[in-house]
Amino acid sequence: MMHSRKKTQSYGVNERHQVVWLIVLAILMFVSIGFPLFQLFRKAFIDSKTLELGFSNFITYFQTPSLSHSIINTLNISLWTTAISVVLAFIFAYAMARTGIAAKPLFRYIAMLPLFTPTMMHGIGLTYLFGNQGLFTTGFFGWLPFSFDIHLYGSIGIIISEVIYTFPQAFLILSISLAVTDYRMYEAAETMGVGKISQFFHITLPSVKFGVISTCFVCFTLSFTDFGAPKVVGGQYNVLATDIFKQVIGQQNMSMGAVVGMILIVPSICSFIVDRIISRKQQGTFTAKSTVYVIKKSRMRDLWLTLYCSLISGCIVLLFAAVGFASMVKIWPYNLTLTFDHYRFYNAAGAGLSPFFNSVTMSFYTAIIGTAVIFFIAYMTEKIRLFAPLRQLLYFLAMIPLALPGIVIGLAFIFFFNLPNNPLHFIYNTMTILVLANIVHFFSVNFLSATTALKQLDKEMEQAADSMNVSFYRTFFRITVPMCMPAITGMMVYLFVNSMVTVSALVFLYGTDLKPASVAIVNMEDAGDVAEAAAMSMLILLLNLGVKGGYEGVVALINKHRSKRSDKLRIKANSLNSIKDSVGVDAHV
């Protein structure tokens, strides 16, 4: 046939730019994700002495009882944490979603508090409550006739800390699962005379099944890889995350560190796979015709759940109040005079307030650059018409960090960027590597929320602009970005807050004078300057609350302003936000 030859479309200006960008982005992502990971694998699988490829490092690891015992310890911690956290969070989320209790927003805000602090703070709070000189252990310094000692240091302390850490995350996922339901099923059950309890087991539980599974995995993974809490309240109870720290920082034993890193990835990978399967299965459980859950009156139920939520919220508030109080007393527990001395940090193993400002600078850069890069990459994978293989590669690379605990990213980064012949060696010990590590650490979560926001935009808008011969930069900046503003600002806040609290990746990477606040907390705690560590935690908490609160305020203002223009827009912005929140859940692994 005459016309059988396939003609390839010659690239227009847009396409040429796009393909160059895709290649640039792919290279960027290989450099910051692919290559470091490869180095980590190399370190783990190449014998440090004989330089042979194989499992010799793993054999050494499993033959060292003091190391391999940590696996059992860590599993123990994670299983308990998961069980407790999921149950507590489920009841809490149920109370928020399906009952008529009062003060829901207050409860919700309090439940979210632990998200805004480094995990060390939970541990520090616990030492002030349940440590040897804790409020409860001493019976409020002897004012109360009774006291009790829970023997905090060790597995008990770690489990409580991890429950506090994972509770808000579990609560968020479960809230979303409980929010998405079809009330028609309950109405059908009512008409068939099915009892309330039976309804709970036959309708409610099955409908949140996937949410619960995914919550379990998130809790398990988070507590499996957390470093902060075991560092503070772990005592002699070794877990993998503290092992990795001891091996790498304490003994500079990189191969063992890499082996532990490999073990730490395992649950994240499982979690990742399960999550993918679930998200595929979950599609279609909620249709446009579904009706919203109607809360029926029940005084007994509301009374009990109000009590429950007050108890949980009370515990969280008490914990943070204890840290706040302890950071302001002279010498706990012997001299309870109030003072702001600890906030001057002049005596502490940090470097005054500079770690705090380092963290602010770092978080600011992470928020700005991270959001820009992540959103642009999401745009390029989602909204470009051509170059499917390149885009899929980019998507694949973008999803990898979801399975990487921060501590593993930190490790992989030292291995890769500290290679003497790496031309990028110069970023070692600079702010750049800290920002890069944070961006990689929080990449996938934000990438997913950006993708979700982009998917909600009409696909034809880009094509319309394309067919009108508009430069894709203009389309991007004039249409896509403004339309996704709620998601974009949400990403910024997320990145800022999480960069302020994260410690895992940074603990390996901070340079001479760029110690972040979270690392300073670890160092101060290490040196025994617990009050200063508490003070620094409070500063982080307050700043984060300020940032988040300010953001919410601005959003509320904008929505109010916009409601004049149209209600529809606001609804769209809100739904984007809630999606963002929902995706932001399986956050800082």
Partner: protein, 331 residues
């Protein structure tokens, strides 16, 4: 007027994986003509339009405009105006900003203002120019999208199911307006639709597609009265398909069958099954009872005025007359 066609699609084939969307499609469109691509969903009509727009690339074949092969030209350089099914208006821009968006950088500032004003005038939306898309009705949005598409003075206009999202009243009104506008501008237009009535009322030329292939190309009158295949006959309007011996099929539209109270020459007996009142006419469903077509169902449209003279009670026997000149034979 046997000059070269303005737009010529030649032997275009397109597959997505194992699915063939277009199979060796050849269509010619002359300048200023309004062409409808008509067919059921999945027939490939939208893919064909996207190939013309440059949003998809054919596996084989070429697209020729004014004698130039544009097959490998990127979308932005083809100078087409396109109205998308969702309109794809930019929600963060007002109506006039939407129209001006694509003009920036191509025209001077004053020219843009001028052009935007002209376009708003043309579609009659000057009074709503500062409204955002969510504040406009579906029909108004559609007109903004149209104004935006033609603002760049494109060589041809592509409309992807532009009326499908509107309710019936607005749709009928816009059909007329759209056609008037097209004639006024004299712009070569191709519209994708699955609505046969839309195609019949608006088009100069209808391209009926099914299953990745073209069934028929012709004027509305042609495709209605002389359908090239049972598919076309059935897809456009209603039709009774009656199998004949040796695999041949005979077709006749319901309005051409006459109902007689008693047997006349050439009539066939039938039993009334059901009567649907449809306003000006009624549709009568019947079962044939003669030997050759026993139990074959046919439908007949009878003017309401005539129906009152006939006994169309259920199970009553009537006689149908199918005029020879109205019969269409397929082989």
């Amino acid at each position: 007027m046997t000059s070269l066609p303005y737009l010529s699609i030649q032997h275009v084939t397109k597959t997505f994986g194992s699915f063939t969307a277009l199979n060796d499609i050849t269509v010619d469109v002359s300048k200023g003509q309004f062409t409808c691509l008509l067919g059921p969903s999945g027939c490939g009509k939208t893919t064909l339009m996207r190939i013309i727009a440059g949003l998809e690339q054919p596996d084989q074949g070429c697209v020729i405009v004014n004698g130039n092969d544009i097959t490998s030209l990127p979308a932005g350089e083809r100078n087409v105006g396109m109205v998308f099914q969702s309109y794809a208006l930019f929600p963060n821009m007002s109506a006039s900003q939407n129209i001006a968006f694509a003009l920036k950088g191509k025209l001077s500032k004053s020219e843009i203002t001028e052009k935007t004003k002209e376009m708003l005038d043309l579609v009659g939306l000057t009074h709503l120019k500062d409204r955002y898309p969510v504040q406009l009705s579906g029909g108004q949005q559609q007109r903004v999208a149209l104004a935006r598409a033609i603002a760049l003075s494109p060589d041809f206009l592509l409309l992807d199911e532009p009326l499908s999202a509107l309710d019936a009243k607005v749709r009928h009104k816009l059909r007329k307006e759209l056609r008037e506008l097209q004639e006024k501008l004299g712009i070569t237009t191709i519209m994708v639709t699955h609505d046969q009535e839309e195609a019949l009322t608006m088009a100069d030329q209808i391209v009926v597609m099914n299953d990745a292939e073209i069934e028929q190309i012709g004027s509305p009158r042609d495709v209605y009265q002389v359908p090239a295949s049972p598919f076309v006959a059935d897809f456009i309007g209603s039709v009774n398909l009656i199998p004949l011996q040796d695999d041949r099929v005979m077709a006749i539209r319901p309005e051409y069958i006459q109902i007689q109270p008693s047997q006349v020459e050439g009539s066939v007996p039938a039993i009334v099954q059901q009567v649907e009142f449809r306003g000006i006419y009624s549709r009568v469903y019947l079962k044939l009872t003669n030997q050759a077509w026993v139990d074959k169902e046919v439908s007949v449209d009878v003017l309401d005025h005539d129906a009152s003279h006939l006994n169309l009670a259920r199970q009553s026997v009537v006689h149908l007359l199918m005029p020879e000149r109205r019969l269409i034979h397929f082989t």
